[in-house]
Symmetry: C2
Subunit: 211 residues, 2 copies
């Protein structure tokens, strides 16, 4: 159920006051800021905000209001959690992400400097040397975006059905064939029939830790 304008202003004031002061406002401070002269009206609206799931109130405690989203989310909302689904290796199809990309299992956190997308994102750890032609090393982490269509030039994970092999290469449509171009420009492309290719995801970030 939609919030009234007054309730929205109350919520925004709580959010802003809390960030600025590092403690939440009192009933009276909220009233003063939003133009409500009665503590009873503020109390009534706060109870609605709590019922609707926007805030949590601690009873009979001064400044006993916290935002449901939490202060942590406010101050570090530029972190993205990426589910780490498993591994990518030459001889296996890659793990299929759940439709909701839930974070129930292992995950890795990245900042927005590294990763701006959030939809359909998952991470895989590289096993083996077979991705070297993509300049990707055993042990690297690849951040994938789930998609089954590829645009020319995308670096994609493809499953080659006949060969029973996963490979990471740049993808180009060429008539009824697909050209799979190693990222290493000194290496030759391979050409396969389009029907032999199953695109499983696009690589959008590679991370290598050397320790």
């Amino acid at each position: 159920m939609a919030l009234s304008e007054r309730q929205q202003r109350i919520l925004e004031f709580i959010r802003r006051f809390t960030l600025e002061n590092e403690y939440p406002p009192t009933i009276r401070e909220i009233g003063a800021a939003v133009g409500i002269s009665s503590t009873s009206v503020v109390n009534y609206n706060l109870n609605i905000l709590q019922r609707e799931g926007y805030i949590i109130r601690d009873k009979e405690v001064s400044r006993g209001i916290r935002l449901k989203e939490g202060l942590k989310e406010l101050t570090s909302r530029h972190i993205v959690k990426v589910p780490l689904l498993g591994r990518i290796a030459a001889g296996l199809p890659i793990p299929v992400p759940d439709s909701d990309f839930s974070l129930t299992g292992e995950s890795i956190e990245l900042t927005r400097d590294i990763l701006r997308e959030e939809e359909g994102i998952y991470a895989l750890e590289v096993r083996g040397d077979s991705m070297i032609d993509a300049l990707i090393h055993d042990g690297d982490i690849v951040i994938m975006k789930h998609q089954q269509e590829a645009n020319n030039g995308d670096l994609v994970a493809v499953w080659l059905k006949d060969e029973k092999e996963t490979t990471l290469k740049r993808f180009y449509h060429e008539g009824s064939r697909v050209r799979l171009q190693p990222a290493n420009p000194t290496m030759d492309p391979i050409y396969v029939d389009a029907s032999n290719v199953e695109v499983q995801g696009k690589v959008i970030v590679v991370i290598r830790q050397l320790n």
Copy 2:
């Protein structure tokens, strides 16, 4: 001037309470937690903590205590800012970091999942294809740790004086010579006189964004 044990316990309680509750404690809550029965004593110690620069008190306000370090630092202390000093390319020595690795210029933020070290860390952007034998592509970001000595197996940026060239390779001492081994195991190493080699830093993370 050192804090008394009681003052340290008060400070730690404020920090923990604030993280857990998203609002600071009252004078009486502090007293109860630390075993001080008198609000006057708590008040006295809080005034000392403020004088010594650990907290900030807002006068005559309930829960008017905030930590000097700030809640933001507490909740997102798992982010590291890395100065982005410039570029690494074959024909140039890499930018020399200031001794204090100050963050006055451009920087990139990483989570602790990616980078755990903080001392002597800086980032460089790769220019050109010359690092491909290190499986590092034009446009990649390399995170360096400043050091001028290398251990066997480290992936280091070295400046080859005679050749006037920067290269990234795994470093091995071999008598009076140095073996520089490409990370790509299909490529041959090079051998240079130790006097020709100037280690400039060790690569600890590589990040590739494909957009």
